[in-house]
């Protein structure tokens, strides 16, 4: 564009200069190399197109990178939510007992173990609960035993002691307030809450 304008101004100046020649002898107009001008216009055009192409390519690249990042963030958030869910899965207990039961409950603890190892910034709080039977006050102590049993299972397998705190709510916080065997089974549980490091969580390979 600039080249064009300069060219036009140049030509105009030359014409004006030629027109305002006055009493001077008419200068000989230099030979206009129209081919050269056409060439340089063409080259300018080419350069402009190349410039625009590169801008477009850069934008496309940016676009691609951005959508890739968004996709990654979505995957990350989904994984964090999934891991958070897995870390929050409860385990359950037999009546008047605080021993971790082999089978489904140890499987749940096993997956928590792997997740804790893969996410060293994570801290957990384990809260023990009881069903409504038994002495109200003793159930506070029993709930604490249930929380401690789950913590011990994890620390025995290498998780640092300071990453897990234990608490109890006795029979004060039932999930199901009904007075049935079914409700009681649901209420005898440990709950797991994240207390730190929950912003970004990863699943270990193979999970």
């Amino acid at each position: 564009m600039k080249l064009k304008i300069s060219l036009v101004i140049g030509v105009a100046v030359m014409l004006v200069a030629a027109a305002c020649g006055g009493g001077q002898p008419e200068p000989v107009a230099p030979a206009i190399d129209s081919t050269a001008i056409k060439d340089s216009i063409a080259r300018a055009e080419a350069r402009r197109r190349a410039y625009e192409d590169s801008v477009a390519r850069a934008r496309a690249e940016e676009e691609r990178l951005r959508s890739e990042r968004e996709e990654a963030a979505r995957r990350e958030a989904a994984m964090t939510a999934e891991v958070r869910n897995m870390l929050g899965t409860m385990i359950h207990f037999d009546f008047d007992k605080s021993a971790v039961r082999p089978g489904m409950d140890t499987d749940v603890l096993q997956s928590k173990l792997a997740l804790l190892q893969a996410n060293p910034a994570v801290s957990l709080e384990i809260v023990g609960n009881c069903d409504e039977r038994g002495s109200d006050e003793y159930n506070m102590a029993l709930g604490m035993r249930r929380a401690t049993a789950a913590k011990k299972w994890l620390t025995d397998r290498g998780i640092a002691d300071g990453r897990i705190t234990v608490k109890s709510m006795g029979e004060e916080n039932p999930i199901d307030p009904a007075h049935s065997e079914d409700a009681w089974t649901k209420n005898r549980r440990d709950e797991f809450n994240l207390t730190a490091g929950g912003a970004k969580l990863v699943k270990p390979a193979g999970m």
Binding site: S135, D136, E137, Y138, M140, A141, M144, V166, K167, E172
Partner: protein
């Protein structure tokens, strides 16, 4: 022949003399007075509250006194067949007549005695519209035993009710030698909130604001402060609340961790409680008066120790321990030494025992024990260690002693919902105290001292 007949006649004559002579050798009966005491357990003196004027607060006072005397379980309450329509008041005295004491009153003692009363109580107006007299008559002795003055404020005012309850307790003391329990209250937890209720079931009032979750309440020895745990997100702090002023303070070392089952010694010095941590649950004590000096009394390692209760002499603490496997009642000195089994049990057979409470006279421990899966109330004699079962119907747990050492309040679900019930340990009489939605963890106060409001 003659001589033998004469001899026989002489002998026959002499026989009665011999009999008389024998009489002369018996020492004469001494004149005097014999005093003896006959103890008939279960037999209670008859008590009658006299009807009469229904003006003003007289009727309220009469009703409150009658119920308090009945609830003491120490009398056979005599109610008249036609109720208040038969006025057995003090005859010869007009309503609104000059103040009492002007002229001797006529009390129909023989009529009261015929109705079975050994004591009768009259509530009488005085010239002062705000004043009443409560008089206790000894029917057998045919004399007035004692009289009390009551100033009537608003019958709905709780201080008025407390004053009348104090009179009822003094009536019991005048009749049987020990004061009653009417001037006392109970704390209980319902839907997570702390309530208090009078010993006659009246005036159920919330003590804590909604939104706080309350656990294991107890009283301080004055009956003016409640001590309880506030639960929050898996931890619990112990709070002392002044019920008169409404102020509450946290016991300093309990601001963190899970602290509960508070108990205060009878002299108010020590607070004992349990704390649950990762290492287990153990009993601690703290000097409330000096606000210092937290000590751990039990070292559980693999067992739990909780629910401490002080002996009234302050020398021992009974508590629950799982050191033998299940939950059973143990005892130790107040400094933690000398821990030993208290309530005997058969390993593997006896159910879990929990929630012990030492009686105010120091002779018994009340607790609950699982029997075929349901908790029942038990008593243990401290000296003989003999254990006896008190209840068998429904689920009965968490006993707490009344200040007379013969009534217990506890939680029973025998009506379908958990409510506070009371039992008289000597007569076995059982009564329902509350009718609110759901009641737990009751605590009976000592006799409440009268407080002069500033």
């Amino acid at each position: 022949m003659m001589r033998r007949t004469a001899t026989t006649a002489l002998v026959l004559l002499l026989l009665p003399l011999a009999g008389l002579a024998a009489q002369d050798t018996v020492p004469p009966v001494e004149q005097g007075v014999r005093i003896g005491i006959t103890y008939t357990p279960g037999l209670r003196p008859g008590m009658m509250v006299l009807g009469g004027s229904r003006t003003g607060a007289v009727d309220s006072v009469r009703a409150i006194l009658g119920r308090d005397l009945d609830l003491s379980d120490r009398f056979e309450m005599i109610s008249l067949p036609a109720g208040d329509s038969v006025v057995l008041g003090i005859s010869g005295r007009q309503e609104g007549s000059p103040a009492m004491g002007d002229a001797p009153l006529f009390v129909n003692y023989s009529l009261h005695a015929a109705l079975g009363a050994e004591y009768s109580v009259a509530v009488l107006p005085t010239a002062d519209p705000l004043g009443l007299v409560v008089a206790l008559y000894d029917v057998k002795g045919e004399a007035e035993r004692q009289r009390f003055n009551v100033t009537v404020t608003d019958p709905a005012d709780e201080r008025f009710r407390l004053a009348v309850h104090h009179v009822a307790d003094e009536l019991v003391r005048a009749a049987v030698g020990e004061p009653g329990i009417a001037a006392s209250r109970l704390l209980l937890v319902s839907n997570g909130r702390l309530y208090r209720v009078d010993a006659d079931g009246a005036a159920l009032t919330a003590v804590t604001p909604a939104g706080e979750t309350i656990f294991s309440p107890t009283w301080d020895p004055t009956g003016l402060r409640a001590v309880y745990t506030v639960l929050s997100e898996g931890w619990g702090k112990i709070v002392v609340r002044d019920l008169v002023r409404g102020t509450a303070t946290t016991v300093k070392p309990t601001a963190t961790e899970l602290n509960y089952t508070a108990a205060v010694s009878a002299d108010g010095t020590w607070l004992a409680f349990s704390r649950s941590m990762e290492e287990g649950t153990d009993v601690y004590r703290y000097n409330l008066q000096r606000d210092c000096c937290l000590e751990r009394l039990t070292v559980g390692r693999f067992s739990d120790n909780l629910s401490p209760t002080f002996s009234p002499d302050g020398r021992q603490i009974a508590f629950v321990s799982t050191r033998a496997g299940g939950q059973q009642i143990y005892v130790m000195s107040t400094d933690g030494t000398g821990q030993e089994l208290f309530a005997p049990f058969d390993y593997g057979v006896t159910g879990n025992s929990n929630a012990p409470e030492w009686s105010p006279d120091g002779t018994q421990i009340a607790f609950h024990r699982d029997v075929v899966g349901s908790p029942q109330l038990f008593l243990m004699n401290v000296r003989s260690r003999v254990v006896r079962q008190l209840t068998s119907y429904g689920r009965n747990e968490d006993p707490t002693w009344a200040p007379d050492g013969r009534h217990l309040a506890f939680i029973s679900d025998r009506t379908g919902r958990r409510q506070v019930w009371t039992i008289d340990v000597e007569s076995g009489r059982v009564r329902q105290l509350t009718t609110i939605g759901d009641a737990r963890l009751p605590a009976w106060s000592p006799r409440i001292q009268m407080v002069i409001q500033p």
